[in-house]
């Protein structure tokens, strides 16, 4: 049994003041769809904490703002809110597709984007597309505010760069032109309430039938969500009707092994990551033809 005291700050200012004072003993709770499971299971990942600070009802952190060059998503936006947002649908349909695959209706109604990121699971469904979209995160402490790319914020499996006096307040995504296409692929054991075995997000714009900017992000099959830079380099400027699919798939599998190393699941995942990328590329190419 884990014993803790409850903290329920009324607003962000109060929360940050409390964190400044005793952040090292505080675990932050938002939607609870990951944390309550871990507490219930006495998970080793929890580490020591004395206080559980609930921020789920803090006002102002659950808004989606449309800025000229960015879309800003409040860290407490639930997966349901994201799935139903017209603004997100217009700008980043890939985020809607991935949010809809999370858990179940009940879990999407509670779980938040900030929680999904801060839990830092290698299988977090939103991290993969957010890295492909070059998203960044905004963290606040009592006296400071900083912004860093999501890719740098995630430092390892279940590890992040959050300091103990900080709260993630917003996720910022640079807008992309309507030329951009995207695809989200998820391999899971059953349709609903399933943790991803492999996640893939591809975001690209195609100019004159060639991949121009292309971002390929895998997760679950890697320790953290990560861009596959070698395969990106190979695909950049490649003609969409002249792709050597077999060798692209093969190379993708190799890149996974270079990143992850050989594991018990490698014989399965190596060909599957390659085939998933092919599926994503074909989906995107169908859209533009």
């Amino acid at each position: 049994m884990i014993e803790f005291e409850a903290l329920k700050p009324q607003n962000l200012k109060e929360a940050l003041a409390v964190l400044k004072e005793k952040g090292m003993d505080i675990k932050i709770l938002a939607g609870g769809t990951d944390l309550l499971v871990e507490i219930n299971n006495n998970s080793d990942r929890l580490g020591d904490f004395k206080y559980l600070m609930d921020i789920s009802s803090i006002k102002g952190l659950d808004e989606i703002e449309n800025k000229k060059e960015h879309l800003i998503i409040g860290a407490l936006c639930t997966h349901t809110q994201i799935s139903e947002s017209e603004l997100i649908k217009r700008n980043f349909p890939i985020l809607i597709r991935s949010a809809k695959t999370i858990g179940s209706t009940q879990i999407r109604n509670r779980g938040t984007i900030g929680g999904n990121i801060n839990n830092g699971s290698p299988a977090a469904d939103l991290i993969t597309p957010l890295i492909a979209l070059k998203g960044s995160v905004i963290l606040k402490s009592k006296n400071k505010k900083r912004e860093l790319p999501l890719q740098d914020f995630i430092t390892g499996p279940y590890k992040t760069d959050r300091k103990e006096d900080e709260i993630m307040t917003k996720i910022k995504i640079p807008k992309i032109t309507s030329d951009y296409q995207s695809s989200f692929q998820k391999v899971k054991r059953r349709q609903a309430v399933a943790i991803a075995r492999i996640n893939l997000a591809v975001v690209t714009d195609i100019k004159k039938k060639r991949f121009n900017d292309i971002r390929v992000v895998f997760s679950s099959a890697t320790p953290t969500a990560i861009r596959f830079l070698k395969i990106e380099k190979r695909l950049k400027q490649a003609h969409i009707n002249e792709l050597d699919l077999e060798s692209i798939a093969e190379q993708t599998g190799q890149e996974m092994v270079e990143i992850t190393g050989e594991r018990w699941s490698t014989p399965y995942k190596k060909p599957v990551v390659g085939n998933l990328l092919i599926r994503a590329l074909q989906e995107i190419i169908r859209e533009v033809q």
Binding site: E3, T33, Q106, R110, V193
Partner: protein, 158 residues
């Protein structure tokens, strides 16, 4: 652990409670308010047997600490019946024999109710999505989906 004061409206009745920090909504509903229609299945958000409607949304009550939801409205299966009259969804479940062992039924009903409150005329896909987080280990999904579909049609035509 220091207790936390919480006021909740459950099935239209107000309660002022002092709860432990690690007391889940599920525990409050069953152990304090004796609402045994809320079932504990997996305790990790996979089975949906503990589903209740929290401020209009279906949630797993095993994944919410009661101290988090001060001032909230909660509806459990016991609250579907009003003045001795069953909810149309409950009647439809009976009519379509959508109950086998009954353990998943309260959760299924609350997921379906949350859907119909939001969308009175859902299509089959929307119904399936609404109950995707509810496991029926008797595997009687067909009858459950039919029962929900029929309840929507009734609401629409009457």
């Amino acid at each position: 652990m220091q207790k936390v004061k919480v006021s909740l409206t459950v099935n239209r009745k107000k309660y002022n409670l002092k709860v432990d920090p690690d007391e889940r909504l599920l525990d409050t509903l069953r152990d304090r308010l004796h609402l045994f229609g809320v079932k504990e299945g997996c305790s990790i958000g996979e089975c949906g047997a503990c589903t209740v409607i929290l401020d209009g949304k279906a949630v797993n009550s095993c994944m919410v600490y009661t101290f988090q939801i001060d001032g909230s409205q909660v509806l459990t299966v016991e609250g579907l019946e009003i003045d001795g009259r069953l909810d149309p969804l409950q009647l439809s479940f009976i009519e379509h024999q959508a109950v086998q062992c009954g353990f998943c039924t309260p959760g299924m009903l609350m997921s379906a109710k949350a859907l119909l409150n939001k969308n009175p005329n859902p299509d089959k896909e929307a119904i399936k999505t609404a109950i995707e987080g509810n496991l029926c280990r008797c595997t009687g999904y067909q009858q459950i989906i039919e029962a929900i579909e029929a309840a929507t049609k009734k609401d629409g035509s009457e």
